[in-house]
Symmetry: C2
Subunit: 453 residues, 2 copies
């Protein structure tokens, strides 16, 4: 008699929803029972905009860190679903860099496009408090709390998929004197509206995507000046007047910031664009991935199956640093669902085989030298996983677009969003924007759909 | 053979430290083993200032909500320890309304004044994740995580004292249109420096202590204007020019705020001074106090012993609305420690007797009609508890001071901190401030100690 499978998915963002979609489409004879727990009141994960910062309406750490004026910072053609293209959704060609509103709409289209209403699998405003693996019975005890009702439940599952994401718990480094800084200090996770910073002198700490985009956003919406400060290396884009880069902040003295090159500047606001922490406080220690952001975490088979504990029945989705985002989540989710259902040829492998496979990826990861290396690494990783489950998302063609996008940004960081890419699935070339990102202040989906040549 | 008692204290703020002090002073033959878990890196609870907002350096909800320029909003003579007076600590008379720096110093003096180093009982940067009562063995399983090391522990205790406070998890109501407000939105918990609001038009939502003090702070430090909006009733103080009160905010449209009286105003910042939520997410449901702020929570004997579950071995400290603060915590902690050690004459009582006693207080609570009623209620409550443990903190004399303080605020909200009170324990009359609060911009302890007539 085969075991009754019961799968717990934690999180209803792009990763968790991808898993729900795939389980929903599976044949009924292999399909397990599925329960998805979602802390927020709706699905969408990071793609839900919220006016709240810090803690949410229930006092839980706020999940979302989107800002009103966010536009995709990569071409939509690099995160397009092979089996649900942008053209399928919008029924017309749209430019390559949509605002958040349009992207969330696309995601939601995907999730409501199947035969089932996936909401029936999701327990909203329900936070998972504890996941413990029971060695003897080879299952998991999951404790969750319905935040609205204040009522907790304990349930048992054969498998757990952790899909809470890795970009929701801010990393906040200390700088000497910061506690006496006489201005606003915030993390980019709490950034909501660039207009708040009109006329102000900003210090942006960090040199990755958040730093880059927030510096530009704030200048666009009227900030007086922006200094970005870097630890490892500068972004070195051709910044518009008003943005400059300096080596790492050393200390603060009231409103004066002192940098490693001996320079100093008076600033009004500090925005920590210092990234996120891997945080899975609800998992028992041996189940908990404790990593820094990396292209392939240690101790994982296919960057998905956790080898540290949990009897090969605990999975993580989307825990690598990401270029491919939605399509990578999709591939991982499909692999994970099929692995659980036992429908992948050649799986399961022995632990030794899984570790050998993981070692191969980790060893290649250790030799990565540039963002372009990272892109190719991730394309190969997805291709490897895709081949096992027949998803075929044309990752090398997407990788080529990502390489071009990287070059476009070097050429002109202010207008890289004016570029157009061609869908590898529909073959449609994106129309050009009529008014460029820098000149557009209405970031709604409707305004975007009208803003084409 | 008597049971080996093992007590878990959760939180090393004024409440938890009061319990630690009392256990430390107890006779060795009745003294239980004690472990105190503290999420922060040091003791002090809400009295630790932090530059962080929202989530802390480990991604946990930030405990502290102090602002740089906070001064006590009540006379220090109303929160003075009978057995460790302000004069014992500072060795000289000091004015009645000290800044946070001086008050924290006083607390720390109390905690380091005994024979033992109380730090040895405290596990710092360790958060309690789960407390479950085991009916069969009549004890508690407590799971905690050392946030620095990322390592969890499970321990068993005979008693648990919840001392995490009730003013650390913000309550954030929604207002129509708030998600489109084009300015900064924050809760008072995230308020750090009034200088951030210089030249700005503030909307302060709320009509209690935070609203009152933040409105004044911001105006003092240069805010352009402050509108306070109330739900139940206005504060009705004689506000300085620049502060006004309006009935409840109805909706927001971009930067326009619309009020219940039909008026509207353009504002730059919304500060939610909307209080806090009772939040004990680590407690299993039947142990969890789920209440609104009240002078005496339901289901508690002596507002301290939880009657809802936990076999009469679960205690809360400081969970009522507070006028007496430190001295009330002290009285409750002493009662609680002695109750656990079995050294209170006439205790333990039967559950029926405890419920009858609780009903008496709840019934009186239900008839309270004014802040002055609340003050007298709390004085009587503390006197009742004190009489059982012989603490004698002269609560009626303190209540009289609180009545006067209430009147002082009505007379002049800007300068009530210029008043002087006399210690009921040392008999010392506080010296007057040389420069009044409104004119002082250096809020350090040192500046305060020099600022006397």
């Amino acid at each position: 008699m085969s075991e009754r499978k019961r799968v717990c998915i934690i999180g209803a963002g792009p990763c968790g929803m991808a898993a729900l979609c795939h389980f929903s489409q599976a044949a009924s004879d292999v399909r397990p029972e599925v329960v998805c727990y979602e802390k927020q009141a709706t699905w969408g994960g990071l793609w839900n905009f919220t006016w709240l910062t810090g803690t949410d309406e229930f006092g839980e750490p706020c999940h979302g860190g989107q800002y009103k004026h966010l536009w995709s910072n990569g071409p939509k053609e690099c995160l397009e679903f092979p089996d649900y293209t942008f053209n399928d959704h919008f029924q017309c060609p749209i430019p390559s860099f949509p605002p958040r509103d349009a992207l969330r709409d696309y995601l939601e289209g995907r999730w409501t496009n199947g035969d089932e209403d996936l909401r029936k699998y999701i327990k909203f405003t329900t936070v998972v408090r504890s996941v413990v693996y029971n060695d003897a019975s080879q299952n998991f005890t999951v404790v969750s709390t319905d935040l609205q009702a204040g009522v907790s439940s304990t349930e048992v599952f054969s498998h757990v998929i952790v899909a809470v994401g890795i970009f929701n718990v801010p990393n906040k480094p200390y700088f000497d004197g910061i506690e006496k800084f006489e201005g606003r200090i915030m993390h980019s996770h709490d950034f909501r509206d660039a207009k708040e910073f009109k006329g102000q002198r900003l210090l942006v700490v960090g040199a990755s995507y958040s730093a880059e985009d927030l510096a530009l956003q704030c200048l666009k919406f009227g900030a007086k000046s922006v200094i970005c400060t870097w630890r490892t290396k500068p972004m070195s884009f051709k910044w518009p007047i008003g943005i400059e880069e300096r080596p790492l902040l050393q200390q603060l003295d009231n409103n004066m910031a002192y940098f490693k090159d001996g320079s100093s500047a008076e600033v009004d606001v500090i925005i920590l664009c210092t990234g996120y922490r891997y945080a899975f406080p609800f998992l028992e220690d041996r189940l908990r991935l404790q990593s820094r952001l990396t292209m392939y975490p240690d101790n994982m088979y296919k960057a998905t199956l956790w080898l540290g504990g949990g009897g090969g029945r605990l999975f993580y989705l989307g825990v690598e640093d990401q270029y491919f985002t939605f399509t990578m989540f999709e591939t991982e989710a499909l692999w994970c669902c099929r692995y659980i259902m036992g429908t992948i040829s050649g799986e399961p492998k022995s632990e030794a085989e899984m570790r050998a496979d993981a070692d191969k990826w980790v060893s290649r990861r250790n030799g990565l030298k540039s963002p372009n290396d990272d892109i190719d690494f991730q394309a190969d990783f997805i291709a490897d996983m895709s081949s096992a489950v027949g998803y075929n998302p044309e990752e090398q063609k997407v990788a080529d677009m990502l390489h071009k996008w990287k070059r476009d940004k070097v050429v002109d960081i202010v207008s890289y969003r004016a570029q157009s890419f061609r869908s590898v699935f529909s073959g449609i070339e994106a129309p050009l924007l009529k008014h460029r990102w820098w000149k557009v202040f209405d970031d709604s989906k409707d305004a975007f759909l009208k803003n084409t040549e």
